[in-house]
Amino acid sequence: MSKPTDLVQGTLDLLVLRVLSLEPMHGWSIAQRIRQMSKEQLRVGQSALYPALHKLEQQGWIDAEWAISENNRRAKYYRLTSAGRKALKTETAQWERLSSAISLIVKPA
């Protein structure tokens, strides 16, 4: 089980952006969604998630507003901004380059 700190630097940002590209959601469901999408392989703790969200918001890649959640409570919903969409594209491309490069070395010939 990978702990988020073990994730390659900046990967968490990429995951958050990717998940938010599906629909606006709050912190809890972002964590849940990452778990589901990674088939329970990645578990993002709130200790890393919230600072990351605040940083992304400060950078202007995501936006936040308060709304009523599925269990009828007020929750902070994050949404991808257009800058965030652009960032997601470049980050994804970069990630693909990086992971394929690493695969080339790690996979036996």
Binding site: H26, G27, W28, G45, Q46, S47, Y50, P51, A52, H54, K55, E57, Q58, Q59, G60, W66, S69, N71, R73, R74, A75, K76, A83
Partner: protein
């Protein structure tokens, strides 16, 4: 824009901090609740689920802090906290804070004063694209002098055949009498060409300005443009003033408009009140004479040309003119200056900025001394705070946190000190400007705390913050959190700490010494100026100037007026004699034509001898006390119709007729080309200008006011008593009784004219006074600083001294030991100060008179002062130490 958004978010986090904090808490709370729900759904009891969730969440406060960090605001909040803390700290030690702020204000104040004055003198003209304006000035080869005027025909040639200038205009200053509503003011006027205002890109505030369509030289229609300030002061800014008639020098003129507010003419230091067509005030003959430097020229550069290109282009034309007009233009060149640097006159373009730099350096030294004092205070307090810093370190403050705290404290002090200093500095500058009334020169300085000065003070504030805060900060950052917090102290302090303190004291002594030496050099300059035999007797002479021309007197009425006046004044009790002259020794006005002995080529700038021309009445030499060596002075036989006569000085006689008897010889002058002067008398050489002092007298001739009339004259009245001032009211009254409409001005003694005016010794005297005040300020600061260091040293060494005394060191020897220490510091400071003083003196050499920059009297005097002061300062702490009771000091520990 992303950064605007980021900025907005930051602002939101800053100013709606409570809300942001609340939201952060809510968000994490929501997460916690979902976690609990999840665990309950998985089968845990609510109690267990809550504990498990809280465990997983970890330290929520730490999470919040991380989120705040992510928003990049931690530093900001920490700064705010530190700032509040520093202010609280300073309030807890009000005496320390007040001393530090006051000391710094004393250091910044003089800087603000000097910066205000400099900024006022070199502020751009209030016109569009002022940086494109240039000033032209004439030079002649083999003569170091720079003339601020050009020959009008030269100007026309430069204007028509140089590409880099978009326009050039001519102007000059003139005093006129303006009569309106039965009252006559004597005002400074600028006589201008038609394109003067258009070259400057100025618009009228009311009516219209003098326009190119009025004529190249402003035209012959009697029109006048008022300055905005004069319009406001004299006519209450009434729009009906435009179009009305006023009298100027007795002639009717129509007010056509008002110049833009804030524009005071193109001569800095004077405020021009009215603008008149140049053509009405200068004769065509004079203007068309290529040999007469008749007009001041201001030029505007096209945006695409640099100053160097303009210079090259002007040079090319000058060379052509030299070929085309060899009799007048041989060796004549024209220099181009940036208008801002050529203030007040192009002659000072090379000196002004240098003098400004020297004064900024001197007041900078005062600031350094003040900073050293405040630093001393901070360091002394820092000792007491070592414990506090250690505790902070142990409790988790980073080195950087401590450094920030120290620098912030310094910043608070520096900010308060700089604000107080800047305000006080400008107030002092204004007071100085109102006190420094130069006789015969209505000095105009618009002193205000402008942007330039504010920026300069802000820079000084930052510099002082660093000077004051950095060393304590470095100290604080070196605190070892593991060090012993117990009170045990070494008996003696580190050597290095004392070295820094002593170094500071020595630097202060050195700095104040430089100022005192500069002051001394200026005092000695004034002394040597005043000790020079001027060749006339300035005591007991009262001057009174008047201008019947301002109310329209013609030549005949003028002569009659002065004849009656002369007789009436001479009949006054207490008056020994009276005479009139157009110019005053060491005054601003002068006339310097070229002369040539009869039989030589007609005098021109290339063939003649440059001479001073004076117009006086017959009693002038007796009144001013210049001995007539041979021949006679003017008398009633010399009238307008008779042959022109002159009295010459020895220098002129020796120059024109070396070895021959000049009496009865004749010469010609370029200022009166139609006359030939016969020499009827020879007077002893006298000094009428500053540049004659220390050198030889210039050739000078005196012509008769009966033969060459001038309306504006200065009456010289020799009193029978030592105090010529007592005649002031009687003389003024006498003139008023003759005609109360005639403006009378500049009534003061000849001694004042010489000692206080800008063309006399006023500059050196002013500099001596100013550096004297600065020097005293610096010395006071240095004394306080040195005293502080010494008494601190004694306090820090109490235990050591106690032990020494317990072992039998006599109090007398303790006293001597400490006094010697003071002397060591002083000696070190004086040595550095001597070197710095001589270097500064070298820079100022051009401003000194008859004093070498290493003047031994000054240096010795200052060294003695410094020795005496440092001894005095050292005696008290040394005496305190020698009276210590060794038992008590040891028990105290």
């Amino acid at each position: 824009m992303r950064w605007t958004r980021t900025f907005r978010l930051r602002l939101r986090s800053l100013f709606r901090r409570r809300r942001v904090e609340q939201q952060l808490a809510d968000e994490l709370q929501y997460h916690l609740e979902r976690l609990i729900d999840d665990l309950i759904a998985a089968g845990a009891t609510p109690q267990d689920a809550r504990y498990a969730a809280l465990r997983e969440m970890g330290a929520i406060e730490q999470r919040k802090e991380e989120c705040r960090d992510a928003r990049g605001l931690r530093l900001f909040f920490a700064l705010g906290r530190d700032l509040r803390y520093s202010v609280r700290q300073l309030l807890r030690y009000p005496v320390f804070a007040a001393a530090a702020v006051l000391t710094l204000a004393m250091g910044i104040g003089p800087n603000a004063t000097i910066a205000t004055v400099i900024s006022c003198v070199f502020r751009p003209l209030p016109v569009a694209d002022a940086d494109r304006l240039t000033v032209l000035a004439t030079t002649v080869s083999a003569n170091p002098r720079i003339w601020q005027r050009l020959a009008y025909p030269d100007y026309q040639d430069y204007k028509s055949s140089t590409a880099p200038f978009s326009d050039m205009a001519v102007w000059d200053l003139n005093s006129v009498g303006l009569t309106a509503d039965g009252r006559t003011d004597r005002v400074i006027s600028t006589v201008v060409s038609g394109n003067y205002f258009s070259t400057l890109h100025l618009d009228p505030a009311a009516g219209r300005l003098i326009l190119p369509s009025d004529g190249e030289l402003g035209g012959t229609r009697p029109i006048v443009v008022l300055s905005h300030s004069y319009w406001t002061r004299r006519f209450g800014a009434s729009s009906s003033a435009v179009g009305r008639e006023v009298r100027i020098d007795g002639r009717p003129f129509t007010v056509v408009g008002v110049a833009q507010e804030g524009f005071h003419g193109t001569f800095r230091l004077l405020s021009s009140e009215v603008y008149l067509p140049l053509e009405l005030f200068q004769s065509r003959a004079r203007l068309s004479n290529r040999d007469v430097l008749s007009v001041r020229v201001i030029g505007r550069l096209k945006p695409e040309f640099a100053l160097d290109e303009a210079r090259a282009s002007i040079d090319a034309v000058a060379k052509r003119l030299e070929r085309d007009h060899p009799t007048t233009n041989a060796g004549r060149r024209v220099r181009v200056y940036s208008e801002r640097l050529a203030r007040p006159e192009p002659q000072t373009a090379s000196q002004g900025p240098a003098l400004a730099a020297v004064f900024l350096m001197l007041v900078g030294a005062i600031l350094l001394i003040a900073c050293a004092n405040v630093l001393g205070l901070f360091l002394a307090r820092g000792l007491g705070r070592g414990r506090e810093m250690t505790i902070r370190r142990s409790l988790g403050a980073s080195r950087w946190d401590l450094v920030r705290l120290c620098v912030l404290e310094a910043l608070v002090i520096a900010f308060l000190g700089a604000s107080a200093g800047a305000i006080a500095g400008v107030v002092v500058a204004r007071a100085l400007a109102s006190v420094a009334v130069a006789p015969g020169f209505p000095l105009f300085l618009e002193l205000r705390l402008d942007w330039g000065t504010q920026t300069y003070v802000a820079i000084l504030m930052v510099v002082s913050t660093l000077l004051i805060g950095l060393l304590p900060a470095i100290r604080a950052s070196r605190v070892d959190p593991r060090s012993d917090l117990s009170d045990g102290k070494a008996s003696t302090d580190g050597r290095q700490r004392h070295l820094i303190r002593k170094g500071l004291a020595a630097a202060q002594i050195a700095g104040s010494m430089v100022l005192l030496v500069v002051c001394g050099l200026f005092i000695r300059s004034v002394q040597s100026l005043q000790s020079v035999d001027l060749g006339f007797d300035a005591t007991r002479v009262l001057l009174a100037s008047m201008d019947p021309g301002a109310v329209g007197y013609d030549v005949g009425r003028t002569r009659a007026f002065y004849e009656v006046l002369d007789a009436t004044v001479e009949a006054l009790p207490g008056v020994e004699s009276a005479a009139a002259s157009v110019f005053v020794p060491f005054g601003t006005g002068n006339s310097t034509p070229y002369i040539a002995a009869e039989g030589q080529a007609p005098p021109s700038s290339t063939t003649g001898v440059l001479a001073d021309r004076h117009l006086v009445t017959g009693d002038y030499f007796r009144t001013i006390g210049t001995p007539l060596l041979r021949g006679r002075t003017f008398s009633s036989v010399d009238t307008q119709g008779s042959a022109k006569v002159a009295v010459v000085n020895e220098a002129l006689a020796a120059r024109l007729w070396p070895g021959d008897d000049p009496l009865g010889r004749r010469f010609r002058s370029s200022s009166d080309p139609d006359s030939t002067f016969e020499v009827i008398g020879i007077v002893q050489d006298a000094r009428y200008r500053r540049d004659e002092i220390g050198g030889s007298a210039v050739p000078r001739y005196f012509a008769s006011l009966d033969q060459f009339s001038a309306a504006a004259r200065t009456l010289h009245v020799r009193s029978r008593t030592r105090t010529a001032e007592t005649l002031t009211s009687t003389v003024t009254e006498t003139i008023r009784r003759l005609d109360s409409a005639v403006p009378v001005y500049d009534v003061y003694t000849l001694e004042r004219q010489i000692n206080d005016s800008g063309s006399g010794f006023g500059g050196a005297k002013g500099a001596a006074m100013m550096t004297g005040v600065l020097g005293m300020l610096a010395l006071t600061l240095a004394v306080v600083g040195t005293y502080g260091v010494l008494s601190f040293t004694v306090r820090a060494r109490t235990r050591e001294i106690g032990i020494r005394m317990a072992f039998g060191l006599a109090p007398r020897r303790v006293f001597r030991m400490l006094l010697r220490e003071t002397w060591n510091i002083a000696l070190f400071g004086v040595a550095i100060g001597l070197a710095a003083s001589i270097a500064t003196g070298k820079v100022l050499e051009g401003f000194l008179f008859g004093v070498p920059p290493y003047d031994p009297v000054t240096l010795l005097g200052v060294v003695v002062i410094m020795g005496a002061v440092s001894t005095l300062v050292g005696v008290f702490p040394a005496r305190t130490a020698s009276r210590l009771n060794p038992i008590e000091t040891l028990r105290y520990e």
